[in-house]
Symmetry: C2
Subunit: 358 residues, 2 copies
Amino acid sequence: MTALAEEIARVYGTPAVVIDLDKVEANIARLQAACDAAGVANRPHIKTHKSPELARLQVAAGARGITCQKLGEAEVMADGGIDDILISYNILGEEKLGRLGALQRRVRMIVAADNPVTIAGLPKAAEIAGRNLEVVVECDTGRKRAGVETPGEAVELAKQIAASKGLTFAGFLMYPPETGWPATQDFLDTANAGLREAGLEAGIVSTGGSPNIPNIGKLKGSTEHRSGTSIFNDRMQIAAGVASLEDCALTVYATVVSRAGPERGILDSGSKTLTSDKGGLDGHGYILEYPLARIAQFAEEHGFLDLSGSNERPNVGEVVRVVPNHVCVVVNMVDRLVTVRGDKLIGELPVAARGKLT
Amino acid sequence: MTALAEEIARVYGTPAVVIDLDKVEANIARLQAACDAAGVANRPHIKTHKSPELARLQVAAGARGITCQKLGEAEVMADGGIDDILISYNILGEEKLGRLGALQRRVRMIVAADNPVTIAGLPKAAEIAGRNLEVVVECDTGRKRAGVETPGEAVELAKQIAASKGLTFAGFLMYPPETGWPATQDFLDTANAGLREAGLEAGIVSTGGSPNIPNIGKLKGSTEHRSGTSIFNDRMQIAAGVASLEDCALTVYATVVSRAGPERGILDSGSKTLTSDKGGLDGHGYILEYPLARIAQFAEEHGFLDLSGSNERPNVGEVVRVVPNHVCVVVNMVDRLVTVRGDKLIGELPVAARGKLT
């Protein structure tokens, strides 16, 4: 148990969600360098950190703007001084359109749409803003998540946007599977051909995903990339081959509160801290001090350790550091992050956009 | 889409986590009646609702006190006027022991311990409080979670507590599996025999679990029961046979934001709202309006619907109500609950103890 772990436990108690700012800055610089090398603008997704302070660091490092998934996140970011925001989400309903319009008065807003109903609502926001709203068409390029499934549909929506009072067709939003670039290229090329026929052009072609960082620029015609997780990294990024353990900037400091049996142990971090997002991995996190201990199961405030494979076993009262499987959902549990640099405690950072559900 | 759904979407936006206070009050009354009928005190676990206001309703209905899982929860509850609090958790470390002592100055505190290290620390809290702290020994009666595994160990810890300056041995904390009552009875009887030999007595014998409500009082010698989830209920409680859909007081109001393909749809509620806690069930929630639609998968802010089994399919923009699989972790995501009575919007209730990680 390091002096830093003792200090964090004494000052903040555990569990504590801790980020190493040296690593955060290195991760921000690495993403920016990858975008710069590919000649693609960097528009990091703030869903991972939800902190205007970290968003400002990303912009200071060279990011063109940011990506948000929620209107409430965008509001917090605009309040924090970010002035170029893409919401990669269908914004629907009177309440949200009013807020979107108010936001668009203050900062550059781009929103995504993948259906005619969403597009039909957006002019209300533009009207409130008193200026045109940029809209990108979300395209499903193989993940079967959000987005239109064919280039033809994408072009139809682009035309609808271009024909809508107060809206500007701004381009395409894509999230290619890591192995799906040729199909994505076909989709984009076909859609672009359709746009040309309609006298339109995609000013923005946005790709996404931290696992896609090695692929930035691979899509010919892409102009921007959205990466969220890479600011902190996690076990899923390691599994995807795009980060090492040393690149993981966030760890959960947890106390061993019980050694229920000789081969068992219990951490004070369960599904209400580390969440049940397993990301297809074995176990619920990686304990830096006990790499062979397995976080086998969760209760809400308990992490149940299987120590059978580990000769080294922690004592009750010991503080350990856990690298989460999925860091984005862990940050979303807390109101503040504890900050360190190497072995020095720095302070805290509010997760200001947490809890902005709408 | 009901007028209430439209109103909630207009006033609060979606996703909105909504509780029906009529159902909440009925659920509170039902638990109290079950405890009264068995002659066992009711000590509901507030981990589910994290609201002092709802805790006060539980006490007003007859609960002896409450159960918390975190010191931070207990602090919020004490601030909210609750004066008899069991923390069913090992409290460890200087920071927490100081806070526990401060709390114990103000209200009756009982804490659990399942190991000698925890017990060795607790006198510090008692010293700060200036009066004895009641400690129950947590016993593992078959779930392989927290707790000592044998009656002999339980008695040893009871003796250690009784011999510790400032501590009072208060009894046993148990969480019997729903089918494990005979084994739990054996455990308790053997432990009680050991206590008698040592001149000790278990004033509190606490059982737990909402699925165990039908079993309250089954353990001869039990004095209290802890139930959390039953205040709201969820799909897991329905699956356990202890609640009906009509007993589910909490629903997540979600908007259909996309119909990505003919057999697909997307809700604006994903793992950052409903969480990835599946509780061993199929799908991630039950949509009241579309019972045959399956919430097949989550992204952080997307719930991906498989509509292939449902002839009725929602349109983009429609607001639906989702009964979560596991309600405790859903409440833990939000800072407020929207309150209704039947089809009437009432207001909001802060989830005051949310985010109190330590």
